[in-house]
């Protein structure tokens, strides 16, 4: 009889242990989240970089500065951030994306290629200050 009682008690103890562990873990995680939610968040300042248009098919665009900090897409298609209505530009020609604190230019297998400092761009490149980017007949200068 005592053995039977002991067995039943142990069975419930086992079940209780399982429950208690999950409960405690969930509470600990909730506490963690709760603390994080009320921490003061640091405000990060986005440093902007710019593309300056040096030459273009359209005289009005020359010497315009394009400021950006997020991803920037270039091409002839209307869904790009910068639309270049130029026959030598592909629909989705190139994209500049932020990688950590640098900016990366990627050519999207365009028909007439992207040129950086007079060289054909194959794949991706990190942009430096003062790089000259040529897309179709438009020439940009990268500034940061």
């Amino acid at each position: 009889m005592t053995i039977k009682i002991a067995v039943v008690a142990l069975e419930y103890a086992l079940l209780f242990c399982i429950c208690a562990f999950i409960y405690k873990t969930m509470r600990a995680m909730y506490g963690d989240l709760h603390d994080k939610a009320y921490e003061e968040t640091k405000v990060t300042v986005n440093k902007k970089v710019a593309l300056v248009i040096l030459q273009s098919y359209d005289e009005k665009l020359v010497n315009k500065r394009i400021l950006f900090s997020d991803m920037l897409t270039l091409g002839r298609g209307v869904d790009n951030n910068i639309v270049l209505a130029d026959a030598y530009v592909s629909h989705h020609h190139a994209v500049i994306s932020p990688v950590k604190n640098q900016y990366q230019l990627e050519d999207l297998h365009s028909r007439n290629h992207t040129y950086v400092n007079e060289k054909v761009l194959l794949g991706k490149i990190f942009l430096q200050n003062g790089d000259i980017i040529k897309i179709g007949t438009t020439v940009f200068k990268f500034e940061r």
Binding site: L10, L15, I18, I22, A28
Partner: protein, 419 residues
Amino acid sequence: MYYFKKKVLFLQAMLPALAMLLFYVKDGFVVKQENVIITAGACLILVIVPLIAQKVLKNIDVYILSLVCFLCSISLIMMLRLRISLYHTQFQWIVVGMILMFCTIVFSEKILRFLDYPYILGVLSILIIGSVLLFGTEIGGNRNWIIMGPVQVQPSEFAKLLILGFLAAYLQENKNMLNLPNRHWGFLYLPPLRFLAPLVTIWSMALLMFVYQRDLGSALLFFGMAVMMTYAATSNKSYVFLAVVFFIISAFISYLAFGHVRVRVAIWLNPWADPMGQSYQIVQSLFALGYGGFFGTGFWQGSPDIIPAVYTDFIFSAIGEEFGFIGVFSVIMAYLLIFFRSVKIALLCQNEKYKLLSFGLAGTMLLQSFIILAGVTKLLPLTGITLPFISYGGSSMVASFIGIGLLLAISTKEKDRAC
């Protein structure tokens, strides 16, 4: 992190001790000294490992590690209950897995550098799967084992990690290409076909090989993994749509072509047509789960031993019978909490490859447990794969531990930089 008091860690280590005590009280004369020593060792390890990890590796995510230890202790007590001869080997595999996990964390710099060479990872994974086609032997209906001397290895478990690495690296590098639509086919927005080719190759290679090896569970897992990662990387629903269409077509073709697939589906649709024959396993599993009720029959009180393969694929039914709804809920909750913490790690990552990889590791674990739980409870047709960290099996245990090691390494790395 101060909420997580140290005494919580003792709760998971209590499980094997209590189970052993119960075994001793019930029939003390059967208990071997060896098993008592193993239990003591297990208790010690399950407490010490999270504590040491917390001390030695700063910023480690201690929740994930202690949840994994909890799942391991459940696995141990179920082995003690179901197949006492496997208790020893399972403990051995847990120790090997933990050692490999720490190795992975220590050498993570070098291992994660492989992410810069995605095609090496892709080719390696195809080679591993291909080697199974050549040298594989059939155990339990699945032709996906390789016997190397004394150990039997299930290479698909390791190929899984490699494919995850390949997908993370490949998708990150070609994300812009895959995401900027050049072609419009109706409501689908897709890039030119040549950029899709590596993805489609991985999908269909994995599928073909696994269908050939009759390992439907792994095929489903690989496919789900690829779709999940692609959607996570590109957030383009066209890929999901394509994948679903591809999946329906291939499922239909394999239903027509393969007898074993037809059998699985027939069992799923109506297990009561042949309860003592082909659908004996699933019917017994359903009985076990139903018999468990809310509180379960009590440890050692049920009779889950009559389910075939109860210690690998069907271990969930045994848990359901002996610990009832509460036990089942706890196990599912443990998986969900690990997933939640891992997604938190992924969201905090700066490096996009690490971000994708950690999401993929977590998602794969969750998907794997979903597929087998759904199979056991007859939500989906049964496909035999292991329940991570609980089922008996060396390859699965070690591969899961390496995956968790990678996840923890990524989390420590990212937090170090943030400080």
